[in-house]
């Protein structure tokens, strides 16, 4: 097992407070290093990404993790392409604080852009280094050499395999990103669908998921959650549970409660008895579903105008208004979250299906008062998550239980109800849109979106976003809701309309309270905002008496946007006249007219 390394980002994070307020004059600091592409910027040495092995195989390290999106295979393709080795000769190591680059979260469709770019540039550079070494060895000029399947060929027929150069290859050097990657026209592996690396094991019973991890001496844990958010544990029947078969430890810290048993079903049974006799007080009620959206909009919010364009609204314009809602949504992974943790000789190891092992490590360290260097978080696949579900919380829970059993690894799995009740949901949202039409054109547009935070992941600089830690005797607090800058945004993602209106104003009302725990769910607020925008465009088109496709095209300047609408209309075999009359015939009209 490799010893965990302190990476550059951890170091910066650890010293963040000191550096920010440092009075050291800027001139005394070394010159800013060159900007490198993708995640090379934050993980700058070549050997952080690639190692060439003596047998000619390649080991690739990435901070991004497999969530069922196929990213590990895609990254292997990129590395193999640039290095000119067959895909089968690449071994992938992903998401391990002891071994891989720190690339933050695997989220937001950023993995190719960040990790893929780094591997592409690092791969090109390592290939050039190897060719350079071969040129020296063969006494020929590098530009006469060609690489096929990891073997470097000279024009005279002599050849050197990558594996033969490992002794001389020093990849412990900073990447320059100066070697041009292969042009797309020369791609043999990238751009073609490769069978996913992870699928065969999943179809034949291989150990594919964190749930399948079995360590020697491993025992089984379950946790007991309060009946309500924020409730305090007043009492429970410890003696009764300790007397149950197989029970090794009952873990209580404040209102955090869990149990460890020799066998899994024993832990499950012990949990039920803990629940039966536990007494709780306090805590908050959930919003009333009948009045939920009004209640949410009445909570304290931080409002920010994110888009504004001014022009006079002509007199006599027709004004419409509509309100759209999105409910809270569970990630509802096919299995509840799971983690395995082991505390041995003061070192904590956690196997987790977290989307970000480095932020998780930093946050567990803060929650438990440990040093990040004493914690190693290793990604192991879980069921598809679609965003921030209970994975990180389960990792913390497993760590809590592992501390109580003296060196034995603990496999902690949430029960189904734990996940549905306690995972952070995708936030409920309200979108209020007001528009004005005159002369067949939109002449006014006001879009207001209310939403709780879409990002309460571990890694917050102020709070500790691990749910179990909020219930410890020394209770930790989650971070505050934060605005995310456009164009990515969060609850306001895609809230600024792409249609070209002379007058528009878009406001994001970030709700600062958390009546229901929320965080990231696929595309954050984007689809709710787009749904509201496009639905309201239909309303405006009908008010203007214009076919909705033609109406949209009349408000588009960007050619790519135009192509999207045209492609959709074509795919739907859109018939303008019939569709417009059908819409008027079947829908109540107008929705709200002022």
């Amino acid at each position: 097992m490799d010893a965990p390394r302190l990476t550059r980002r951890d170091f910066t994070a650890a010293l963040g407070g000191i550096l920010s307020f440092s009075l050291v004059p800027k001139v005394a600091l070394v010159q800013e290093p060159a900007r490198l592409p993708g995640s090379l910027q934050t993980n700058r040495t070549l050997d952080a990404w690639l190692r060439i092995n003596a047998d000619g195989s390649v080991t690739v390290f990435t901070g991004k993790v497999e969530l069922g999106q196929g990213i590990v295979t895609a990254l292997a393709q990129i590395a193999a392409e640039e290095l000119e080795v067959p895909l089968g000769r690449v071994t992938m190591i992903s998401g391990d604080t002891g071994r891989t680059p720190n690339e933050g979260q695997t989220a937001g469709s950023q993995s190719i852009e960040q990790s893929g770019t780094a591997l592409r540039m690092a791969g090109a550079e390592v290939r050039a280094l190897l060719i350079g070494l071969a040129a020296r060895k063969l006494g020929v000029s590098a530009d006469t050499l060609k690489v096929t399947d990891g073997v470097i060929h000279a024009p005279d027929g002599r050849k050197v395999g990558y594996g033969e150069l490992t002794a001389e290859t020093d990849l412990k050097r900073e990447a320059t990103a100066k070697v041009p990657p292969k042009p797309a026209a020369q791609y043999k592996i990238v751009g073609k669908s490769a069978p996913r690396i992870d699928i065969p094991a999943k179809m034949t019973g291989g150990a594919a998921f964190v749930q399948d991890l079995r360590l020697p001496g491993m025992v089984h844990g379950r946790v007991v959650r309060p009946p309500r958010y924020g409730a305090r544990l007043d009492s429970f029947d410890e003696a009764r549970v300790k007397a149950m078969p197989g029970v090794i430890a009952v873990v209580r810290d404040g209102s955090f409660l869990g149990v460890v048993a020799r066998r899994e079903e024993q832990a499950i049974n012990a949990r039920l008895v803990l629940i039966e006799f536990a007494k709780w007080s306090g805590g908050s009620e959930l919003p009333d579903p009948a009045k939920m959206y009004e209640q949410l909009m009445s909570l304290r919010s931080e409002d920010r105008v994110i888009g504004e364009k001014d022009a006079p609204v002509p007199v006599g314009a027709k004004v419409l208004e509509a309100t759209y809602h999105r409910p809270y949504q569970a990630h509802a992974a096919i299995a509840p979250s799971c983690a395995v943790a082991e505390l041995k000789d003061g070192k904590l190891t956690v196997w987790t299906h977290s989307q970000g092992v480095f932020p998780l490590r930093a946050t567990i360290a803060r929650a438990l008062g440990l040093q990040p260097r004493d914690i190693r978080c290793i990604h192991a696949e879980g069921p598809g998550c679609y965003g921030h579900n209970g994975a990180d919380d389960a990792a913390f829970d497993a760590a809590m239980l592992a501390r109580a059993v003296n060196g034995r690894p603990v496999r902690l799995q949430w029960m189904r109800d734990d996940e549905f009740k306690w995972e952070p949901y995708g936030p409920a949202m309200t979108m209020k849109v007001k528009g004005a039409v005159a002369g067949g054109r939109v002449v006014g547009w006001t879009f207001d979106v209310w939403s709780q935070s879409h990002n309460m992941r571990p890694g917050d600089p102020d709070g500790i976003n691990l749910m179990g830690s909020w219930y410890l005797a020394d209770a930790k607090r989650p971070g505050p809701a934060r605005h995310a800058a456009q164009p990515n945004g969060a609850g306001d993602r895609n809230a600024i309309t792409l249609y070209d209106f002379p007058r528009q104003r878009t406001t994001h009302h970030l709700i600062m309270e958390n009546p229901v725990r929320t965080s990231a769910l696929r595309t954050l607020g984007a689809y709710a905002n787009v749904f509201a925008i496009e639905s309201f465009m239909d309303e405006l088109a009908a008010a203007a008496g214009i076919d909705p496709v033609a109406f949209r095209l009349a408000h588009i300047k960007d050619e790519r946007e135009r192509a999207v609408i045209e492609a959709v209309a074509k795919a739907a075999a859109w018939k303008p006249a019939a569709a417009a009359s059908a819409m008027r015939a079947t829908r109540p009209w107008p929705p709200t007219l002022r």
């Binding site: 969530l67 069922g68 999106q69 069978p195 996913r196 992870d198 699928i199 065969p200 094991a201 999943k202 179809m203 034949t204 019973g205 291989g206 150990a207 594919a208 998921f209 749930q211 399948d212 079995r214 089984h220 066998r263 899994e264 079903e265 509802a332 992974a333 096919i334 299995a335 509840p336 696949e381 879980g382 069921p383 598809g384 679609y386 799995q413 029960m415 189904r416």
Partner: protein
């Protein structure tokens, strides 16, 4: 207490209470990864195995109730080197996003093919209706089962 089981053609003895769900015995005592915990309430199908050739939800099946019966898990169908036509078809169709539901899907499909070796698409949809896939891989899964059925016909 010691319970004797026939799993994937071999007789195995495990020391567990008879009311222990079969799922935990398969996963923890026999170290078989195929059957998965998803809900523990028969709702998702991830834990599906075959008992005497018929699909059964192992999460609620007491291990004591199946002594003397033949249990087949994903591992009993085939291996990486010699995959069952269903396993091969699921790999060929890349019928997974996360793949957590795949074992249950394959076992439910195996039950279907045992009963109906030449199913139509509607039969496949009906047979898998109670197996959940949260990722949305259903169309690939249906294609995979139909492909396996065609393959079976040729064997």
């Amino acid at each position: 207490m010691a319970i004797s089981l026939k799993v994937n053609g071999a007789t195995r003895s495990v020391d567990a209470e008879p009311d222990t769900p079969l799922l935990y015995v398969l996963r923890n005592d026999l170290e078989l990864n195929g059957a998965k915990y998803g809900c523990g309430l028969t709702q998702c199908g991830a834990c599906t195995v075959l008992v005497n050739g018929a699909a059964r939800r192992s999460c609620v099946t007491p291990v004591g109730s199946i002594e003397g019966n033949e249990v087949t898990t994903l591992e009993g169908l085939g291996t990486l080197d010699k995959p069952h036509p269903l396993q091969k078809a699921f790999i060929d169709e890349q019928a997974a996003q996360c793949g957590y539901c795949a074992s249950g899907m394959i076992m439910a499909a195996a039950d279907l093919l045992n009963r109906n070796p030449q199913p139509q698409e509607a039969d496949v949809r009906a047979a898998l209706a109670d197996n959940l896939c949260r990722c949305g891989t259903h169309n690939r899964i249906i294609r995979a089962v139909l492909r396996a059925a065609r393959q079976n016909g040729r064997i």
